[in-house]
C-alpha cells in the first residue's frame, strides 16, 4: 500500500500543480512573491473618523479589485494602514514608519490638508510616491512647483481649491443666480474656498451677500441661520463636509428659509443623512462622481454598496478609490516599482478613473474642470439623488 502511494504521489502533485496553473483562467489571482506594499494614511479615530473610514473602505475595495485581477505587475497589493487621528504629528510619524520601517513603495493620503503637508515632507525625503486624494490646500502643489526635485513624488488626484470653486461657480452661474451666501466651518481651506469662489462668481456677476464661518466648539447655528435668511440670498453655499452640515440644514429649514443650499460635499452626500433632512427646498451636493454619471461610476457605486452596505458619498470615498486605482495603473504602465519611473509615467499619461480621465499639470495637480474630469452636482429628492450637473439647465 505504502509503495502504491509512493508511486502515485508524483502524479498527484503534478495533477494538483497543473490544476493550479489552469484554474486561474476563470479565477484571476494576485501574484505570489513579495507583495506591493502601499501605505494608507487616514484618520480612523477622533472627530474625522467618518471621512477616514470611508477613505480606507474605498482604498481597500480598490486593492481587492486589483488583487482579483492578478495584482500589480504580478504582485499582490498589501495595504499598510495607519491611523493619523486627524493630527499632524501622528500623520508625520506614521508616514515615517510606513516609508522607512515598513518599506511602503507609495502612500495614499492623508486626509486633512494640515496632515498631508506633514506627510509629503517625510515621504518625499524617502522618495516614496504620494497620491493625495482629498486634501485641497494649495500648499501641496505649491511645494511641487517650487521645489520640483524634492517634491516630484507628490500627485494630487482631488480637486484643488480654485478648481473646486470654479466647478461650483460654473454650476451656480448656469443656474442663473445673482446673489449668494457662504457659510462654513471656520477652518483654513474653507476660507480659501470662500475666497476663490468669490472670485469665480464675481466673474459671473454673482454677488456675495453674507459670509460666516462658525467654530465647531460653539457653532451658534441658530443665529447664523437667522442672519443668512435676513440677507435674502438666492442660494447658500455650505462649506462643511462634516456632521455639522446636517445640523445646520435642519436649523435653516426649521426657520422657514426656502433658498436652495449647495453643499461642498461629504456628509450631505450620504443618502442616510439626506433621508432625515427636509427637502422642501432644493438641496444640492457637489461630488467628484456619482452613480449614473458614467458606467465606471455606476459599477463603483454598486460594488461599494454591495461590499459595505451603504452608498458612497461621492467624495471622501470616491477620490481615494481613484487615487489607488491610478497609482496601480501608473505602476503597471511604468513596468517596475521604481519611484522615478512611476513619476515619469504619471506626468506623461492619462488615467481613466471613475470620475473621468485624470491628467496632471506641471505642479502634479489633476486637471479638474475639463470635459474629461468635471465632477457632478446632485440634487436630493424624496426618491433619491438626481444628477443636475453637468448638463443642467437654468432653474
Amino acid at each position: 500500500m505504502r509503495r502504491l502511494v509512493a508511486a502515485c504521489l508524483p502524479g498527484i502533485v503534478f495533477a494538483l500543480a497543473a490544476l493550479l496553473i489552469l484554474l486561474p483562467e476563470g479565477w484571476p489571482q494576485a501574484g505570489t512573491g513579495d507583495p506591493l506594499r502601499i501605505g494608507v494614511l487616514a484618520p480612523l479615530s477622533g472627530p474625522f473618523a467618518s471621512g477616514g473610514s470611508a477613505f480606507l473602505q474605498a482604498v481597500t475595495l480598490a486593492a481587492e479589485q486589483a488583487n482579483s485581477e492578478g495584482g500589480v505587475l504580478g504582485r499582490r497589493v498589501e495595504l499598510l494602514v495607519a491611523d493619523t487621528q486627524g493630527r499632524v504629528d501622528i500623520a508625520r510619524s506614521e508616514a515615517m514608519r510606513l516609508v522607512s520601517r515598513e518599506k511602503a513603495f507609495a502612500l495614499v493620503g492623508a486626509y486633512l490638508s494640515e496632515e498631508t503637508v506633514g506627510v509629503i515632507e517625510v515621504a518625499s525625503a524617502g522618495k516614496a510616491v504620494v497620491i493625495v486624494p482629498v486634501a485641497a490646500t494649495a500648499e501641496i502643489t505649491d511645494h511641487v512647483r517650487r521645489e520640483y526635485d524634492r517634491y516630484r513624488y507628490v500627485f494630487r488626484i482631488g480637486y484643488s481649491i480654485p478648481q473646486w470653486a470654479e466647478m461650483m461657480a460654473d454650476f451656480l452661474g448656469r443656474q442663473g443666480y445673482t446673489r449668494y451666501a457662504f457659510v462654513g466651518a471656520g477652518i483654513r481651506w474653507n476660507r480659501e474656498l470662500s475666497r476663490e469662489l468669490g472670485k469665480a462668481l464675481a466673474r459671473r456677476q454673482v454677488a456675495l451677500v453674507y459670509e460666516a464661518f462658525y467654530s465647531s466648539r460653539n457653532p451658534a447655528f441658530e443665529s447664523v441661520a437667522v442672519a443668512v435668511a435676513a440677507a435674502a440670498p438666492e442660494v447658500l453655499v455650505l462649506g462643511d463636509p462634516g456632521g455639522n452640515a446636517a445640523e445646520f440644514v435642519k436649523r435653516v429649514r426649521e426657520g422657514g428659509a426656502t433658498f436652495p443650499i449647495l453643499s461642498v460635499g461629504g456628509t450631505l452626500g450620504d443618502a442616510r443623512i439626506a433621508a432625515t433632512l427636509p427637502l422642501s427646498a432644493p438641496l444640492y451636493v457637489q461630488a467628484a462622481a456619482w452613480k449614473g454619471a458614467s458606467p465606471a461610476a455606476t459599477r463603483y457605486a454598486e460594488a461599494f454598496e454591495r461590499r459595505y452596505g451603504y452608498a458612497p458619498v461621492g467624495y471622501s470615498d470616491t477620490l481615494p478609490y481613484d487615487a489607488a486605482m491610478i497609482l496601480f495603473q501608473a505602476i503597471r504602465a511604468a513596468g517596475r516599482t521604481d519611484s522615478d519611473a512611476v513619476v515619469k509615467t504619471l506626468e506623461a499619461g492619462a488615467f481613466p478613473g471613475i470620475a473621468g480621465t485624470y491628467r496632471f499639470d506641471s505642479s502634479h495637480q489633476a486637471e479638474w474642470g475639463t470635459r474629461e474630469l468635471r465632477g457632478n452636482v446632485i440634487r436630493w429628492e424624496p426618491g433619491g439623488a438626481r444628477i443636475v450637473y453637468p448638463g443642467s439647465k437654468k432653474r
Binding site: S45, A220, S223, G243, A246, G255, T276
Partner: protein
C-alpha cells in the same frame, strides 16, 4: 420675520440646552465631588438610543427617554460603584478614568453604529408667532431643563433629599449618623448619568449624531456648573440661559466665531470677580 426677536428666543433655547446637560453634572460635582469627564458619553448614549429606536420605527421620545434613563442609570451605578467610589479621593485618577471611559464609549459607538454621522428627522417647528419661529427641539429642551432642574431642587428640599444634601454639605456627619454614604454617591452618579442620557434623547433630532458628539456639551456644561457655583439650581439655570443668549447675540451681531470667545471671556471675568461662582451672590443654597 423679526431677526433679533428670533435670536433672543433661540438664545433662550440654547441656554436651556446647556442647563439640561449641566443639571446632572452639577449633582455629581456637588454630591460625589468629582469632575466627571464621562458625562458627555452618557449624553451621546441617549442620542444613539433615540437613533436606534427610530430605525426600528419607534419615534416616541417618551419611550426613548425611559429606555435611555434605565440603561444610563445602570451604567452610571456600575461606574460609580466600581470605579468612582474607590478612587474618588484621588482627583487626577478620577479625571483620567472618566475620560478613559468616555473614549471607550466613543470607540464602542463607532464599532456599533459606525463612525459616520447619523441623523433623525427633526420635523417642522412647533409654531410661528408674528414671524418668530418656535423651534420644536429648542422648546422641548427649555421645558425639559426646567422640569429636571425643578425636580432636583424640590427633591433636595424634600425629606427624601435630606441625606443627599447632608452628604453634599457635611460628609463626615452623614457617615457618623449611619448613612450609607457610598450607596447614595453611586445612586447619585447613576441618576445624573440618566439625566444626561435623557438630554441626549431630547436633543438628538436637532443635531447630527456622532461618537464624539458629547465632547462639546461636556465642556459647555462644565463651564456652566463651575461658574454657577454648583450649589444653587436657579443659578445654574440663569447662568446657562444668560450664556445661551450671549452666545447667540454675539454670533448674530458680530460673527459666529465670536460666540465662543465672548462666552469664555464673560466666564473668565465672572470667575475673576467671583471665584466661588455666581451662586455666592444668590440667597440660600440647594446643597
Amino acid at each position: 420675520m423679526l431677526p433679533f426677536a428670533q435670536v433672543l428666543l433661540d438664545g433662550l433655547f440654547t441656554g436651556s440646552t446647556y442647563a439640561l446637560i449641566a443639571a446632572g453634572l452639577a449633582l455629581i460635582l456637588g454630591v460625589v465631588k468629582v469632575v466627571n469627564l464621562s458625562h458627555g458619553a452618557f449624553f451621546s448614549l441617549g442620542a444613539y438610543i433615540a437613533y436606534a429606536l427610530s430605525t426600528k420605527g419607534v419615534s416616541n421620545p417618551a419611550v426613548a427617554v425611559l429606555l435611555a434613563c434605565v440603561i444610563a442609570f445602570a451604567f452610571g451605578v456600575f461606574l460609580g460603584k466600581s470605579f468612582i467610589n474607590p478612587v474618588r479621593s484621588h482627583p487626577f485618577s478620577v479625571a483620567v478614568g472618566t475620560l478613559g471611559f468616555a473614549i471607550l464609549f466613543e470607540q464602542a459607538a463607532q464599532m456599533l453604529w459606525g463612525p459616520h454621522p447619523v441623523s433623525i428627522g427633526a420635523g417642522p417647528p412647533w409654531a410661528v408667532v408674528d414671524g418668530v419661529v418656535v423651534r420644536r427641539w429648542g422648546a422641548i429642551s427649555l421645558i425639559a431643563s426646567t422640569v429636571i432642574l425643578l425636580a432636583i431642587a424640590l427633591f433636595l428640599h424634600s425629606r427624601f433629599g435630606l441625606p443627599v444634601k447632608l452628604i453634599a454639605e457635611e460628609e463626615e456627619i452623614a457617615e457618623s449618623v449611619g448613612m450609607d454614604v457610598e450607596k447614595i454617591r453611586y445612586l447619585t452618579f447613576g441618576f445624573a448619568s440618566a439625566a444626561a442620557a435623557a438630554a441626549g434623547v431630547l436633543l438628538a433630532p436637532a443635531t447630527s449624531i456622532t461618537p464624539t458628539m458629547g465632547r462639546v456639551p461636556l465642556i459647555l456644561s462644565l463651564i456652566v456648573v463651575i461658574a454657577s457655583g454648583m450649589e444653587n439650581i436657579a443659578a445654574i439655570f440663569l447662568l446657562a440661559v444668560g450664556l445661551g443668549l450671549l452666545s447667540n447675540v454675539s454670533a448674530y451681531l458680530f460673527s459666529p466665531q465670536w460666540s465662543y470667545v465672548s462666552l469664555l471671556s464673560v466666564i473668565c471675568l465672572l470667575l475673576l470677580l467671583r471665584p466661588e461662582g455666581l451662586s455666592a451672590t444668590m440667597p440660600g443654597r440647594d446643597y
